[in-house]
Symmetry: C2
Subunit: 296 residues, 2 copies
């Protein structure tokens, strides 16, 4: 019997890692006003085989890129294009596979072809909810409006955590325009921070991107056109019928409950299974809590 | 033409991120004795659909677990078992899906049913090649024999970086025996460090694990038996015909060239594309260089 119980827990393995008592208690105790809805005008719905990837945009950090991406989306620029690159432990990238071919590539229409870098911004008024402890890339790390951010001196930036949405660029700092987008699918490549514009984060359907077959060409590009993963369409949330929208709420990262949540994640032994508290959690391991909107 | 060049580079996007001049120069300059072969007696070959996952074992940190895993492998314990859990941004786990069922589960044979924790070890004589800069979980981080390690006071441990191989356990510290194994497929869950035994790292075929469909049950377990991913066999490298073995060499992490490599990865602007040096690289973003053995 003891052996059977042992095997049961052995099969569950890291079983308590994501259903912990201490963390759950914090979430359960959060007040209703410590949760916020999604803003449909700042949300993208990308339909691919198997489901929909939902992305929250970050206009506070990348206002011009977000505007341009939404222009492209509303022109249906992305509809019928594809995911062309999946590099293991790095990024998934989508856009126009014919972008190099002047005769075949899709026109950008009313969207801008270049956008000044939005790699970082000034800190005044930003109100970063800090995650305690050291970070090798920054003076402080934490959250603004649900986004992972870092700060050095008076400059702050979005960080390349798992699920971050980035704006592909060429060698020139202003060469990204939002027609090539990528999402981080591996250990956070934070050396990219401040070198390229981040404009959002995936909040649902991440597994549709992370489980794609890796490309076998250089940089993880698919070698044959038939390997590319079709994007049937991308829509701005406001243009999606209300009944089809993702009905979730997200914990406010400037709330007292979120600070308690971060503290609970740094000290997991109270959650069971864990034997030792780390006493620390790195920025990208903090996943902002979200939950279905309760039906009244 | 300018526009065409722009689009060309835009399609390449993070194009130079993994083929940089500065980093490549360091690798090219490394002396032959700064590379080491794999030890076939400390290497596992796991055959799954699509190919072979190759794992380097870490007997220095987990001697008893490594011995037990090899016993299980040589008894063909894993042959015909399956990958039963794929949790996004966390772990892939394999073992006996019938482990809870006393009537159906595979016997452990000559392998031990429990193993004392090998979560950390003493530092004397360890010789950690340090990666400079702060780390929130440890006093120092760096490498020993190609493995990512951390140190606090006089204790050191293997870290849960991408590709790390772990020994599943239940609630009891000694309940892991190597019959349930997992590999990290997401952002390093370093809060697991010192709570569970790590025993190796994936050195080839990682994409066969990381691109698997995510399980939709609790903790990412597959809900239906037919979703499980069969493991046709696992072999110790010494038992694999020499001609079928992975013929690579790995950069010695105690070499001068490796220290230069780490420094180059912390400062990427010299590599082109990057505009700003981070001046830092976190432990889990350092991937130990490996290359095919040159044919004479």
């Amino acid at each position: 019997m003891k052996r059977r119980a042992l095997l049961l827990t052995a099969v569950l393995l890291l079983g308590f890692a994501d259903t912990p008592v201490g963390t759950m208690a914090v979430l359960d105790a959060a007040r209703p006003d410590e949760w916020r809805p999604l803003n449909p005008e700042m949300t993208l719905y990308m339909d691919v085989a198997g489901g929909t990837v939902v992305i929250e945009l970050a206009p506070l950090f990348a206002p011009n890129s977000v505007t341009n991406i939404k222009r492209l989306v509303r022109q249906r620029y992305f509809d019928g294009l594809s995911i062309n690159r999946v590099q293991d432990n790095y990024v998934v990238q989508w856009g126009d596979a014919d972008g190099e071919d002047a005769a075949k590539r899709r026109p950008l229409g009313r969207a801008d072809a270049t956008i000044g870098p939005e790699f970082e911004k000034g800190t005044p008024g930003l109100g970063i909810a800090a995650v305690p402890g050291p970070d090798g890339f920054a003076d402080t790390v934490g959250f603004v409006n649900g986004f992972h951010v870092a700060r050095k001196g008076e400059r702050a930036w979005l960080t390349h955590c798992y699920g971050a949405l980035g704006v592909g660029r060429g060698d020139a700092a202003d060469s990204g325009n939002g027609s090539e987008l990528y999402v981080v699918i591996g250990h956070a490549p934070r050396h990219l921070d401040r070198n390229i514009t981040l404009a959002g984060r995936v909040i649902a359907g991440m597994e549709l991107l992370s489980s794609l077959p890796r490309g076998t060409g250089p940089l993880g590009f698919y070698e044959r056109p038939e390997q590319r993963v079709p994007i049937s369409r991308i829509r701005v949330g406001s243009d999606v019928p209300a009944a089809e929208r993702l009905d979730i709420e997200i914990m406010r990262t400037d709330s007292a409950s979120f600070a308690k949540f971060v503290e609970a994640r740094a000290n997991r032994a109270r959650d069971g299974w864990f034997l030792k508290d780390a006493g620390y959690i790195d920025l990208c391991n903090v996943r902002v809590p979200q939950r279905p909107v309760a039906t009244p």
